[in-house]
C-alpha cells in the first residue's frame, strides 16, 4: 500500500514530488488533447491536471495509477500503455496507486470493465508527449534536428552521431521545452510492450506478505470494531450490552441505526464479546424466505406487471401462426460476492474532516456518502485506497465505509470496522435471484419467427438485456421484465445480470437450434447474417465481432470433429467485448466429466497478454464455480449459508483445462474484467446435455436432480 501521510490536494502533490529536478508531466484523464497537458518543473501549488508521470534525473519513471486495483491488473496495464509510447525501459518504471482526488481523476472506479477503454487514448498521448520532449531536449543539446533522432529503452539515440543520452540525463532540460500541440502515436506494428505478458508490479509485495490490503491497515491508537446487523426486514427492538461491555478488552458497545457495534482492541476479544450481546429484533418490513420467492417467481411470471423493454413486429401473430413453439424457464439463486478479503474500512472522523482508508471500487461514492451522512463538505473527506482483496462488484457499494465513519463519529476515535466471513455472507448485498421464461416460435421450415423473454427479478431492476443478440435478428420479439421489491439488498455482481442471463439465453438458443434441426454454431451464425442483411429495429452489438469470436472458438475447439467428446457452445456480448466458449464433456464410466473449456475473446487490442489470459481463465473459473455450486438461500430474512462450509466456492480439483484465444483485429481495447464470465454456464450446460441428454435449467447445477449421482468432488 502506498501511504500518503496527508492526502489533501496540496500536500499530496508535495509528497508525491520527490524528484529533485527532472520532468513531471501532468495530464488530464478527461481530455485526449495533448495541449491539456502541462509540464511541471517544480511543485507549484495549484497544478491543474488529473494525473502525472515523472522522470527523475536518475531515470526512474513514475506513473500514477488512479484506479482501484482489485486483481484486474490495471496497476500494471495502465503504465504499460504509457511506457509503450514513451519507449521507456520497463524495468525502470515505478507504479504508484494514487489516492482519491476526483478533481484529478475523473474515472476512479473499477467496475464495468471500463478502465482500459476509458483511458487508452489519454495514456498513450501522455507517454508520446514525454517521448517528444525527450527527443526535443536531446536535439537541442546536440544541435541536430529532432527528426534525426529516435528513442529506445529510455534513451534518445542519434544514429548518425553514434551517441545516446538517457531519459534521466535529459529530464530536467525536457521540462523546459514547450508542449507539442499534437503528438503522433505509434503504429501498432511498432508496439514493443503492448501485447506482451508483463508480470504484476505488486508481485513481490504480495508474495512476501506485505500489508497491502485494508484488513492489514494499522494506525497507532486505532480501535477495531465489529457490527451486529439485523436480518433483512427486521429492526432493532432492544439490546442489552452489559455482558459484552464487561468482557476483557472491550472499549465500548454502541448502537446506531439497527446496528450494534462492539469496539475493542483485539479482534478475538471482539468476536467473543459479540456472542455475549443480547439483542432483540422486531419486524419492520417483509421478512422473506427462499420458499416465498419460489412461489412469487411463478406468480409474477404470469401475472406480474411487466415493463416492456423492447418490442419488434407482432409477437402474438407470430406465435399464433407458428408451426412449433418452445417455452422454457430458468432460475438462479442469490449469490454472495464473497471476495476473499471481507469488507472492512478505517475511518477517523475529526471536527475538521474525515479520513477514510480502505478497499473500495468507488472511492468517490464513499466520500460523497460519508460527507452527506456527517453533514460535511466533500472536500474535507479524504479517501486513501488500499489494494482490494477482490471486489466482484461488492465494493462498488459504500455501506461498509459509511458504517465505519458513523461509528468513528460516535465513539470519537479512529476505528477500523471489519466484517467476519459470516457478516460478509449475511450482511448483503447480493447478486439478485432471477427467473426467466423464453418462448420461441418456429415456422414450418424451422425458422425463428417469434421470440419472447420475460425476466422476473428480486431487486434486479431491468433483468434483461433487451438490445443484445438475438434482438435484431428476429422479426417479432417482445422482451419485458417484472421486479419484486424486497428488503434483501442486491447490487451489481461481476457481469451484472448477464452472469446468469447469458446461461439461460444460450441454453435456450441451443434447444431452439435443435428444434430447427441446425447445428448450434451455424444457427447462431445464420441469425447474425440475418441481422446484418435485414436488421430488425436497432442493433447495439457488433455483428462482425460476434461472428469472429464464434468462428474462432469453433475453429480452435475443432467444433463438431471430436468423436468421444460432447461439445457445448455459447457466445455472449457484454461490457463492449465478445467471448465465445466451447465446453467439452467426456463420459467416464457412465458419468459426465468436464474436461476442457475453450474461450475465444475479442477485447480489442490486448494490452497485457498475461493479464488478459488471467482475466479470461479467472472469468471462466468464476462462471463455472457459481453455475455449479454457489447458492444463497434465505430463511426469515437471513441467509442460511453463513460461511464457506455451506456456501460453496469452486476448488482446485473442480476446474477443467482452459484454453484462451484472442481475436486480433487492432481495434482500441474494449475491456476484459467481466466478459469472459457470462458464456461459461451455457457452454457447460449445453455440453452436459449433449453428453447425457439432460438439460439443466436451474443453478446451481450441483443441486439439480439431473446431476444426482455425479460425484461433485470430481470434475462435473
Amino acid at each position: 500500500m502506498t501511504t500518503f501521510p496527508k492526502t489533501s490536494r496540496r500536500n499530496f502533490l508535495k509528497i508525491a514530488a520527490t524528484a529533485g529536478g527532472g520532468l513531471l508531466i501532468g495530464f488530464h484523464w478527461n481530455s485526449a488533447d495533448a495541449s491539456a497537458m502541462k509540464v511541471v518543473g517544480s511543485m507549484a501549488d495549484d497544478v491543474n491536471f488529473n494525473s502525472y508521470l515523472s522522470i527523475s534525473p536518475e531515470g526512474v519513471i513514475t506513473i500514477f495509477s488512479p484506479n482501484p486495483e482489485l486483481g484486474q491488473n490495471i496497476k500494471t496495464s495502465f503504465p504499460m500503455v504509457v511506457a509503450e509510447e514513451l519507449d521507456a525501459d520497463w524495468s525502470k518504471v515505478k507504479v504508484l496507486q494514487a489516492p482519491l482526488d476526483t478533481k484529478k481523476f475523473e474515472r476512479q472506479v473499477t467496475g464495468g470493465s471500463g478502465a482500459i477503454p476509458h483511458s487508452w487514448e489519454r495514456l498513450r498521448k501522455a507517454g508520446a508527449t514525454a517521448r517528444h520532449l525527450m527527443i526535443e531536449a536531446a536535439a537541442k543539446r546536440w544541435s541536430v534536428p529532432a527528426s534525426s533522432l529516435t528513442a529506445e529503452n529510455s534513451f534518445v539515440i542519434d544514429k548518425a552521431g553514434n551517441r545516446k543520452l538517457s531519459y534521466g540525463e535529459l529530464a530536467t532540460e525536457a521540462s523546459k521545452i514547450a508542449l507539442p500541440k499534437d503528438v503522433k502515436l505509434k503504429d501498432r506494428k511498432d508496439f514493443k510492450l503492448i501485447g506482451k505478458s508483463v508480470r504484476n508490479v505488486d508481485n513481490k509485495d504480495m508474495f512476501t506478505g506485505k500489508p497491502l490490503y485494508g484488513m492489514d491497515f494499522h494506525r497507532e491508537g486505532m480501535l477495531t470494531a465489529m457490527i451486529q446487523r439485523p436480518a433483512f426486514g427486521m429492526k432493532l427492538k432492544s439490546v442489552d450490552t452489559a455482558a459484552a461491555k464487561a468482557m476483557p478488552g472491550i472499549v465500548d458497545v454502541v448502537s446506531f441505526k439497527n446496528n450494534v457495534a462492539v469496539v475493542g482492541k483485539s479482534t478475538w476479544q471482539i468476536i467473543k464479546a459479540r456472542k455475549a450481546l443480547k439483542i432483540e429484533y422486531e419486524k419492520e418490513g417483509a421478512v422473506e424466505s427462499t420458499s416465498d420467492h419460489d412461489k412469487l417467481f411463478k406468480e409474477l411470471m404470469t401475472n406480474g406487471e411487466a415493463t416492456v423493454r423492447r418490442k419488434d413486429g407482432d409477437v402474438d401473430a407470430a406465435f399464433k401462426s407458428a408451426a412449433k413453439v418452445i417455452s422454457r424457464e430458468y432460475q438462479c439463486p442469490f449469490l454472495s460476492h464473497s471476495p476473499m478479503e471481507p469488507m472492512n474500512f478505517f475511518a477517523h472522523v475529526r471536527a475538521d474532516g474525515v479520513e477514510l482508508v480502505g478497499p473500495t471500487q468507488t472511492p468517490d461514492r464513499a466520500r460523497m456518502e460519508v460527507a452527506k451522512l456527517l453533514n460535511m463538505f466533500p472536500d474535507n473527506v479524504t479517501v486513501q485506497l488500499t489494494r482490494l482483496g477482490g471486489g466482484f462488484g461488492r465494493r462498488l457499494q459504500a455501506d461498509y465505509a459509511l458504517e465505519a465513519a458513523e461509528l468513528s463519529s460516535i465513539i470519537k476515535a479512529p476505528v477500523k470496522v471489519i466484517w467476519t466471513r459470516e457478516d460478509d455472507l449475511t450482511g448483503g448485498s447480493y447478486r439478485p435471484a432471477v427467473r426467466y421464461r423464453f418462448d420461441a416460435a418456429l415456422d414450418a421450415n424451422g425458422n425463428l419467427i417469434g421470440y419472447k423473454l420475460r425476466g422476473v427479478g428480486i431487486n434486479a431492476g431491468n433483468c434483461t438485456r433487451e438490445d443484445n443478440f438475438p434482438s435484431g435478428a428476429v422479426d417479432n420479439l417482445l422482451i419485458d421484465s417484472v421486479e419484486h421489491k424486497s428488503p434483501i439488498t442486491t447490487g451489481p455482481w461481476r457481469a451484472p445480470i448477464t452472469n446468469f442471463l447469458a446461461f439461460a439465453e444460450q441454453s435456450f438458443l441451443d434447444e431452439v437450434a435443435m428444434a430447427s434441426k441446425k447445428d448450434p454454431v451455424k444457427f447462431r451464425l445464420d441469425l447474425l447474417d440475418r441481422a446484418k442483411s435485414s436488421p430488425v429495429g436497432e442493433i447495439k452489438y457488433d455483428i462482425d465481432r460476434m461472428k469472429a469470436v464464434i468462428q474462432l472458438a469453433a475453429e480452435k475447439s475443432g467444433w463438431g470433429t471430436k468423436k468421444n467428446l460432447a461439445q457445448g457452445f455459447s457466445v455472449y456480448f457484454s461490457h463492449r467485448s465478445y467471448v465465445a466458449q466451447v465446453a467439452e464433456v467426456e463420459m467416464k464410466k457412465g458419468k459426465p466429466a468436464l474436461k476442457k473449456i475453450y474461450a475465444a475473446a475479442d477485447c480489442g487490442i490486448v494490452v497485457n497478454m498475461g493479464g488478459a489470459k488471467q482475466q479470461v481463465m479467472g472469468g471462466v473459473v468464476d462462471g463455472l464455480g457459481h453455475a455449479m455450486f454457489s447458492n444463497l438461500t434465505f430463511k426469515d430474512g437471513l441467509p442460511e449459508q453463513k460461511n464457506f462450509n455451506t456456501y460453496r466456492l469452486i476448488k482446485m480439483k473442480e476446474i477443467p483445462e482452459v484454453e484462451c484465444h484472442f481475436v486480433d483485429n487492432g481495434i482500441d481495447p474494449t475491456g476484459l474484467g467481466e466478459p469472459a464470465l457470462p458464456p461459461t454456464g451455457g457452454a457447460v450446460a449445453n455440453a452436459y446435455f449433449k453428453a447425457t441428454g439432460k438439460r439443466l435449467y436451474n443453478q446451481p447445477f450441483s443441486l439439480q436432480e439431473e446431476l444426482k449421482g455425479v460425484s461433485l468432488g470430481e470434475k462435473l
Binding site: 486483481g71 500489508p211 483485539s266 476473499m340 478479503e341 460461511n643 483445462e657
Partner: protein, 153 residues
C-alpha cells in the same frame, strides 16, 4: 489471559492473550505479521495457512495455547528476501489476481514440496484443495507448483 512465548520465523515472540485465541489473530493483532490472512475463521479457505513444524496448518483454527514450543513459519519468514523457489515461481508464472489468498496458497504449496519435491498432479490437487482462490487462479497455482518443483533439489 496468559503469557505465551512463540517461536516464529526463527525469532521469539511473546503475547498476553486468552488461551483460546487463534494463532491467526495473535500473528496479526499482537505481532503485526499481517501476511497471514483471515478469510473464513473456520478452517475452510486456507487464507491463514502457516507452517507448524513444517506442516501446513490453518492458523484460524489453531489456539495459541496449542502451539507450545512448535516452530511457526509465516509468509514473512519463508525466505529472507522473497526468493524462496516457490515465491520465485509464483512471480514467474504471475499467479495472482487480487493476491489476497496467495500467502496461504504459497504456504500450502511449500509444505507440500518440502515433503515431496516431485508431487504428481493428483497430489498437488489434494494438497491444495483446501485453499480457495475466489479470483480463480488455480491453473496458474498448479503451473507455479510444477515450476517450483522443477527448481527444487
Amino acid at each position: 489471559m496468559a503469557n505465551y512465548k512463540l517461536q516464529i520465523n526463527g525469532r521469539s515472540y511473546e503475547a498476553d492473550v486468552d488461551a483460546d485465541t487463534p494463532l491467526l489473530w495473535v500473528l496479526r493483532d499482537n505481532f503485526g505479521l499481517v501476511g497471514t490472512k483471515y478469510g473464513c475463521g473456520i478452517a475452510q479457505c486456507g487464507a491463514c495457512t502457516v507452517h507448524l513444524n513444517g506442516n501446513a496448518v490453518r492458523a484460524c483454527a489453531l489456539p495459541v495455547s496449542a502451539v507450545g514450543s512448535g516452530k511457526i513459519t509465516t509468509i514473512e519468514g519463508l525466505s529472507a528476501d522473497g526468493d524462496h523457489p516457490v515465491q520465485l515461481a509464483w512471480d514467474e508464472v504471475d499467479v495472482a489476481q487480487c493476491g489476497y489468498c496467495q500467502a496461504g496458497q504459497i504456504m500450502s504449496a511449500t509444505a507440500l514440496l518440502n515433503k515431496k519435491t516431485k508431487p504428481t498432479v493428483e497430489e498437488i490437487e489434494t494438497a491444495m484443495n483446501g485453499n480457495i482462490c475466489r479470483c480463480g487462479t488455480y491453473h496458474r497455482i498448479k503451473e507455479a507448483i510444477v515450476l517450483a518443483s522443477s527448481k527444487m533439489k
